[in-house]
């Protein structure tokens, strides 16, 4: 830590005295480099951090520069007033360009943003207000009391301060609530939605941030050169900017800055061989993409990983600690008594002629542990997707916590108290375990982002509170040793537990578990059973899809059996396994139902049995039988 502060200080001093060693042309190049650094930060925030392919960054740059130029030369605004308006204009442009992101992603978004950038270039080269191909000259000098900004040396300090603040703010965003959500959205937007992140707003936020930084760069550029012309904002420059971000490392803002400054300097240095230089960037981008997708910024950690693997000294003392049960809640919420927590009324779901769910009705009372079983393809996961808002039922109604949620979006459901896990594990792969938990713990709405602009202490305070809660949750689930690991590097069983911990971080009233025991060994299944019981005892209702019938038999009070999209049986585990329809569905043979069951025997299950179970005579299978 000390080393870090020390080297940061040294860097600051070096940057401060840098102009003393440079000629007037060199300082000009450095000034340009700093502007590109700002642009690259914006690009990194949209592409690397938020995963929104944004090929309109030069247009944001241009909107900033041109707005300033037009306002100062045509409308007679002062530089700083025009600068503020220019930033507002780019922010608005960011919102506008971001709208398509609500409807499309990935390559579609790339093409649309590139097309809009082309449209912008087309406009500035033709409109008379922007001076056409000649551009606008005579932009007034920005004035600061006591500082003569006509000197490029002094302008450097202005840029340095702005860029440092910009980088600082960017890093602040990335490392706190908003940035975490953005990164979660990048890694897995479906799971992020299920954890309460408002995806549409977040996408717009990403573009607004990109626009803001682009505008800032544009204002500084106009103040530095005092002349704007279309060729600065060309598509070729857009791709160079992209190369900067990719080479530097799109996921690291510092990497973006390094890439931008480095490439600008190299470009200048090789200006006599610019075509070869261009060839070089292209080749480097291709090589980076194939061999080092995380860019320069990612190389240290990859090298470290490599050395660690070669060294083979796996000093991995980390261990999964036991789960510490929740405090049982004795009295269940009173509201849950009048109405079931979850009610599905004749839901049907069709996929282009294929009926995945056929008139399914299901009621889950608060405090229940409900099992949903059935052969492959019987519609279990589809049912979960309908309940959690990923799919919209073709017909029928879903009611959750007393309201109609048939058409409610996943993030709203999450805020209402519904959490889920996924069959194939959808952890945020580029986030640490702790951050995975933090994303889910964060219950604030996205519109609180105003705090980032106006009241940062509020953000920090909230952050502290969340981190404390996360630590508690990690301890409860025995995950403290893995808090800062990447989930993908951990054994499967631990990843499963992380997913449950993440779902529980949202403080749900209803938890949907999709095959929580898949891939777990016998001991882990036992631990899972304990965890699920404790979750129920703290007052969270649990519905689980599971193939491990042993687990279902020992854990669930009631079981619903689906087959070919319809409910074929419902009841206690013992009733259900004896039902001919179930045996038919599973084994294809109703005659085998005659084979005697191992007797239920006296009920040794010590688990608390909430009053929701309508059939107290039912006997969950004994431990011996479940092996």
């Amino acid at each position: 830590m000390k080393l870090r502060i020390g080297s940061l200080g040294a860097l600051a001093v070096a940057l401060w005295i840098l102009p003393y060693g440079l000629g007037s042309y060199s300082i000009h190049v450095v000034n340009i480099a700093v502007i590109y650094a700002l642009l690259a930060i914006g690009m990194g925030l949209a592409m690397g951090v938020s995963g929104q392919i944004n090929l309109a960054q030069v247009a944001f740059f241009g909107v900033g520069a041109y707005t300033l130029a037009i306002l100062t030369t045509h409308s007679g605004y002062g530089f700083w007033a025009a600068a503020v308006l220019a930033l507002l204009a780019t922010t608005a442009t960011g919102l506008l360009v971001g709208i398509p992101a609500l409807r499309m992603q990935s390559h579609y978004l790339g093409i649309v943003t590139l097309g809009l950038a082309l449209g912008f270039i087309n406009w500035i080269t033709n409109a008379s207000i922007s001076g056409g191909a000649d551009g606008i000259s005579g932009i007034p000098l920005p004035t600061l009391p006591g500082i003569d900004l006509s000197s490029e040396y002094l302008y450097y300090y202005l840029e340095l301060v702005v860029c440092a603040l910009g980088l600082g703010f960017g890093l602040f965003v990335v490392r706190t609530s908003l940035g975490r959500r953005l990164r979660a959205m990048r890694d897995d937007s479906l799971a992020a939605g299920a954890m309460g992140a408002e995806i549409p707003l977040l996408r717009m936020t990403a573009f607004v941030l990109a626009g803001l930084y682009g505008g800032l760069a544009g204002v500084l550029y106009a103040g530095l050169i005092r002349y704007v012309a279309p060729e600065t904002f060309s598509i070729a420059n857009m791709f160079i900017l992209l190369a900067m971000v990719i080479i530097g490392g799109r996921r690291s803002l510092v990497g973006c800055v390094v890439g931008a400054v480095g490439l600008t300097l190299i470009r200048e240095w090789l200006s006599d061989f610019s075509t070869y230089a261009q060839l070089g960037y292209g080749v480097v981008v291709v090589l980076m993409v194939v061999f080092a997708p995380t860019g320069l910024a990612g190389i240290p950690s990859r090298a470290l990983e490599f050395v660690r693997r070669r060294g083979g000294r796996a000093v991995n003392r980390a261990e999964l600690r036991p789960f510490q049960p929740y405090e049982p809640v004795t009295a269940l919420e009173s509201s849950s008594l009048d109405e079931p927590l979850l009610e599905i009324r004749s839901v049907t779901k069709d996929f282009r002629g294929l009926r995945a769910l056929d008139d399914v009705s299901l009621t889950v009372a608060a405090g229940e542990i409900r099992g949903i079983v059935g052969p492959n393809g019987s519609g279990k996961t589809t049912l979960f997707n309908v309940i959690s808002g990923f799919y919209r039922a073709s017909s029928g109604k879903v009611r959750f916590a007393g309201r109609d949620t048939t058409t409610t979006r996943p993030y709203t459901l999450s805020l209402l108290g519904l959490a889920r896990t996924f069959q194939n594990l959808r952890l945020f792969r580029q986030l640490t375990v702790r951050e995975n938990i933090l994303v889910a713990l964060d219950r604030t709405r996205t519109h609180t982002v105003w705090q980032y602009a106006l009241w940062q202490p509020g953000v920090i305070r909230r952050e502290r509170r969340l981190r404390r809660q996360a630590q508690k949750l990690l301890e409860r689930f025995g995950l403290t040793d893995f808090a800062d690991a990447a989930p993908g590097s951990l054994p499967y069983g631990i990843q499963r537990r992380i997913e449950i911990a993440r779902a529980m971080a949202t403080q749900p009233r209803l938890l949907l578990l999709d095959e929580p025991a898949a891939g777990l060994n016998g001991e882990e299944v036992q631990q899972l059973a304990d965890i699920v019981r404790s979750i129920r005892d703290r007052g969270t209702t649990v519905v689980l899809i599971e193939h491990n019938m042993g687990l279902v038999m020992s854990l669930c009070e009631r079981v619903t059996v689906l087959s070919s999209g319809g409910v074929i049986a419902e009841g206690t585990p013992a009733e259900v396994v004896a039902a001919p329809a179930v045996i038919e569905a599973y084994l294809g043979d109703s005659a085998m139902a005659d084979v005697p069951l191992p007797g239920p025997g006296p009920n040794p299950d010590p688990g608390p049995n909430p009053g929701s179970d309508p059939d107290p005579t039912s006997a969950p299978a004994s431990k011996e039988a479940t092996r």
Binding site: P375, N376, G377, P491, Y492, G493, E515, A518, G519, H547, N548, M549, G550, L551, V552, M553, S564, V577, I583, Y586, L587, G588, D589, A591, M592, V595, P596, L597, P598, A621, A625, T626
Partner: protein, 247 residues
């Protein structure tokens, strides 16, 4: 390109699997299992969902990487043969959920089944045989495979695999989502093919159906073989049901 002689002219060979294992990430899906399929035999693999049945077939086909073990067909070691060459060694595969090519016509689907062979008169003859086995496929020749019903797609998937004239057919859950009558028809058809010398390895969740269609069965549980025996014996065994229902 290498030409591999038409399989059925070769002497029949036994498929032998030893010590085969599959891992996905950290999960062990199949743990050193072994079995063999004699020429003209019909062997079933049954078990509950997630027991490792599909993984077993996929690793046999080379579609998922093997973490250990050996697969031989007669004298020939198939362990390192690539998935796309399996069909040239006489192994046909009918994947779970049929996986027909939805945007191509039924006829194209069938012809692609014979991709590894030259498209000639012999292919036409095979197509004729497949049409005789499943007359529906002839009627639907021009339809897009994606527009067929589940049962029709299943027949198409089997027909497509047969077009390569395999010696051994791997079938993954052919009964899934089909009516009992249709399943009966498909199994009868497979039975007829077996009489002509085709070996079958049938993966099924539906135990009764499998017992009826095979001579030997393996019951899988948690990636291992929990029981083996003749289908006759197993159909009487109560433990099968316990494994299924987790009792």
């Amino acid at each position: 390109m290498r030409k591999i002689p038409a399989p059925r002219t070769e002497t029949a060979a036994t498929l032998t699997v030893e010590d085969l294992s599959v891992h996905y990430g950290g999960v062990c899906a199949v743990r050193s299992i072994g079995f063999s399929v004699e020429p003209g035999a019909s062997v079933g693999i049954i078990g509950a969902n997630g027991a490792g049945k599909t993984s077993t077939l996929k690793v046999l086909m080379g579609l998922v990487p093997r973490s250990g073990g050996r697969v031989t067909l007669g004298e020939r070691d198939l362990t390192r043969v690539r998935a796309r060459d399996m069909v040239r060694h006489g192994i046909g595969y009918v994947p779970e959920g049929r996986h027909v090519f939805p945007g191509l016509s039924v006829e194209k689907n069938l012809l692609l089944g014979a991709y590894a062979r030259r498209w000639d008169d012999e292919t036409r003859a095979t197509l004729e045989e497949v049409h005789q086995l499943f007359p529906m496929l002839r009627e639907m020749s021009g339809r897009l495979a994606g527009a067929l019903s589940g049962g029709q797609q299943q027949m198409l998937a089997i027909g497509r695999a047969l077009m390569a004239r395999p010696r051994l057919l791997l079938l993954d859950e052919p009964s899934m989502g089909l009516s009992p009558k249709l399943v009966g028809f498909i199994l009868d058809t497979l039975q007829r093919l077996r009489e002509e010398g085709l070996s079958l390895l049938l993966v099924e969740q539906n135990a009764k159906l499998t017992f009826g269609a095979t001579s030997h069965c393996l019951v899988m549980e948690n990636g291992t073989v929990a029981m083996t025996g003749t289908s006759e014996e197993l159909s009487q065994d109560t433990r099968v049901r316990q494994i299924y229902l987790g009792l």
